[in-house]
């Protein structure tokens, strides 16, 4: 594989930035939503795991 340049110019370069930002943002929102709604008892149980032994 030689690093010659395959494309002459980059059209719609913003699609790279937009798609990556959307992916990040959606995952982040989903995570935030989950963390907010998660069952309190389960969270407490998991957070005590290091103390068990």
């Amino acid at each position: 594989m030689k690093f010659i340049n395959y494309l002459e110019k980059i059209t719609d370069v913003d699609i790279y930035a937009l798609s990556s930002f959307s992916i990040f943002f959606v995952v982040f929102l989903a995570m935030g939503f989950w963390a907010w709604k998660a069952d309190k008892k389960m969270i407490e149980e998991i957070s005590r795991l290091p103390l068990e032994n």
């Binding site: 494309l7 998660a38 068990e52």
Partner: protein, 712 residues
């Protein structure tokens, strides 16, 4: 439900703990030597092996991959077994992993000192070692995932997520950045060239910090801090957000190492934006750590382990606040290439990694030897000496960095540069001296720890197999409330691995693909031609001696740099540079426009004794270059490797190359003779001079052609 009896493997934890201590001492001693060499050139001892350019990569590799590396494995092997309620998957794999890693460290130390380096910072190890690292990393992965799969605890605690993300990302970074074409048993050329090589290298370099020095240590923090404080982490929810935000954002931030360079502007901006976003998850993690101690600060007063952890987490917070600030172009314009960067990384290395490691060592050793720590008082002494050491290290370096950058940029009223480069170096030497005193203090703290741990080990006996019991993992998993999708993934380590990989791979790919594919990103310069065989040999000597560790080859588009060095660097100038040699620190001046600046004889005398040409210079001497013959037997293989990488040498040129090499070497020899220097033509110094006289001159040729054309 039936309770199963099993045993935790503490012996492997002990082995990693000992290796961590051993390599910590070695790596820091080498660092101290490097720190002294900066103000005392005689400490280079005039030998190739002990010269700064080889000592410095040994220091960085030793502390990152040997000290912190073994620290990671110590933390993972201890916590993973307990969080999974299972012994490690395979004792044999644990041992192969351990000894394989130590063998890599030893071969790394030997080859680096012998001058075998790829010339890419923190990825200096040559191709056979790169392959060994990949194999051992895979063994670690099998052992880790095997343990996770046979666990007796349905939940995967957040620490394990950090370990999984670490494993998968380090694997990806290492493989992508290590693409290289071998041309001999221990030497290769980077697959990438110039600006692309720089982008891949700093994508790797930055994420080595992120995924080798940070995420595994965060996992370790999330396990050992609650353990030491005997209370659960402040907010488990926050730790989940911390994890996902961190791995998503970190992977993008690499280009902030290349601000104002010849890297395309959009990539620089991308790096800046994501670096600033990084403050949020980093500080979320830091506050989560510190708040875990809420209501327990009285314990911190008593317990040296918690003291170490509090300072470690605080240093994490400082370094991750500073990182985004340094990614702002206006701040970076001052900080980059100066000791400010050195101060920044040592807040992370000495504070975050070092202190967290010490805290965990003081916690684990008594635990697995089933005896109290020999002396709490000595541990507290270690803490205070270490803390003063960090301050004495960092403050002078911040000062030096800021002061030197200001001096570089000052002009007189007549519009000329106020200071010679050398003046800006000699001015900060006292600060270098204080820095090494800080290093001595930090290291003496480590020796106190060694004594304390030896005494503790002697008073106890290793519980090699620690008995534990837990019910087998039920097929019917009990549920709490509603089942959200995260609950689904949280139970599935393999899917977790895949999602982590997707998260980091997207970032890497989107950042790099456009630079590789788009022609407009690297405008070509007609006058830029491949190096001649002699220059290529010279360039390899430049890489071997680690010149890039003190000299950049990147003139940024600033008034002072253009006035001091010459025309600013263009991406198109580096298309045949496998690897790129832009550097990251200017302990000496930039060399991007060194070609033609001085006569050949100046370089000859300067390499023999830098102080004869520049009184007060702190550069080491390189007398062996005057005696070593050029290895011409390897020239054809080098040319062929370059041809494979797309460098346009004519077909069959590998067989002619040595004839051209000797012709050019003779020209240099005659040039030196005119200045009353007698040397055979086939000496390494001749090749190095040929290379240095070529660097950055192609663009001058281009300008000459342009002015000829406009005069027509």
């Amino acid at each position: 439900m039936q309770v199963e009896k099993f045993y935790y493997d503490n012996k492997i934890v002990k082995m990693y703990a000992y290796a961590t201590i051993l390599w910590g001492v070695v790596g820091m001693l080498v660092g101290l030597l490097a720190a002294i060499q900066i103000y005392l050139p005689a400490a280079n001892f005039g030998l190739p092996m002990t010269t700064f350019g080889r000592v410095r990569p040994l220091h960085t590799n030793a502390v990152i991959f040997a000290f912190v590396g073994n620290g990671i494995f110590m933390g993972v092997y201890y916590s993973l077994q307990r969080l999974c309620k299972a012994r490690m998957f395979s004792d044999a794999l644990s041992k192969i992993h351990f000894w394989g890693w130590q063998l890599i460290i030893v071969s790394a130390a030997v080859t680096l000192l012998l001058g075998y380096t790829t010339g890419k910072e923190y990825a200096e190890l040559e191709w056979p070692i790169d392959i060994a690292i990949t194999l051992v990393w895979v063994i670690f992965g099998i052992n880790m995932f095997g343990t996770i799969l046979k666990r007796r605890e349905s939940h995967l605690y957040v620490a394990i997520w950090f370990f999984i993300a670490t494993w998968v990302t380090v694997a990806m970074l290492h493989i992508v950045n290590s693409f290289e074409i071998p041309f001999s048993f221990l030497k290769s050329y980077s697959w990438y060239a110039g600006v692309q090589d720089a982008l891949v290298q700093w994508w790797y370099g930055h994420n080595a910090v992120a995924f080798f020095l940070t995420t595994p240590y965060l996992g370790i923090m999330y396990y050992f801090l609650p353990k030491a404080a005997n209370r659960p982490v402040y907010s488990y929810r926050l730790s989940i957000i911390h994890f996902w935000a961190l791995i998503f954002i970190y992977i993008w931030a690499g280009p902030h190492h290349l601000l104002y360079t010849a890297l395309p502007d959009w990539a620089q901006s991308l790096g800046t934006v994501f670096s600033i976003m990084l403050i949020a998850p980093s500080w979320g993690g830091m506050l989560n750590g510190l708040f875990t101690l809420r209501g327990a600060w009285d314990k911190v007063r008593e317990d040296p382990i918690l003291k170490f952890m509090v300072v470690a987490v605080t240093c994490y917070g400082m370094a991750t606040f500073e990182g985004p600030m340094l990614s702002l172009k206006s701040v970076n314009a001052i900080s980059h290439f100066t000791d400010w960067t050195i101060a920044h990384v040592h807040i992370g290395a000495l504070g975050w990694n070092g202190f967290l490691t010490f805290g965990i060592l003081y916690w684990i050793i008594p635990k697995i030897f089933n005896t109290p720590l020999y002396s709490k008082k000595l541990a507290t002494t270690h803490f205070w000496i270490g803390t003063v050491g960090i301050v004495l290290y960092a403050v002078p370096m911040y000062w030096a960095g800021f002061e030197q950058a200001m001096m570089w940029k000052q002009f007189t009223d007549d519009g000329t540069l106020k200071y010679q480069f050398l003046e800006t170096v000699t001015h900060i030497i006292p600060l270098y001296v204080i820095r090494s005193i800080g290093g001595v203090l930090y290291l003496s703290g480590v020796f106190i720890m060694v004594y304390n741990i030896v005494k503790t080990v002697k008073s106890g006996s290793l519980v090699a197999n620690e008995a534990a019991e837990a019910p087998a993992l039920s097929k019917n998993i009990e549920t709490h409330g509603e089942q959200y999708w995260h609950r689904w993934i949280e139970r599935r380590p393999i899917q977790m691995l895949v999602f982590s990989l997707v998260a980091v791979a997207i970032g890497g790919a989107i950042e790099m693909i456009p630079t590789f594919l788009v022609k407009s990103n690297i405008p070509t310069i007609a006058a830029v031609k491949p190096y001649t065989p002699l220059e290529l040999q010279g360039r390899d000597i430049y890489i071997r001696e680690g010149c890039y560790l003190c000299h950049s080859q990147m003139v940024r588009p600033f008034r002072d740099e253009v006035a001091r060095y010459g025309e600013y660097s263009k991406a198109g100038e580096f298309v045949y540079d496998h690897p790129f040699q832009w550097g990251s620190k200017r302990t000496g001046p930039d060399l991007a426009r060194i070609g033609g600046k001085y006569p050949d004889s100046w370089h000859y005398n300067h390499m023999l004794d830098p102080r004869s040409m520049s009184p007060g210079s702190i550069m080491p001497t390189y007398p062996w270059l005057l005696d070593n013959p050029i290895d011409t037997a390897i020239t054809p293989a080098k040319i062929r490797a370059m041809q494979t990488l797309g460098v346009p040498y004519p077909k069959g040129y590998d067989q002619q190359a040595n004839a051209d090499l000797m012709a050019q070497a003779n020209a240099v020899r005659i040039n030196l003779k005119i200045d009353k220097i007698t040397t055979p033509a086939n000496r390494e110094i001749v090749a190095l001079i040929a290379y240095l006289q070529r660097v950055g001159t192609d663009i001058k040729l281009q300008r000459a052609i342009e002015s000829l054309q406009s005069n027509k």
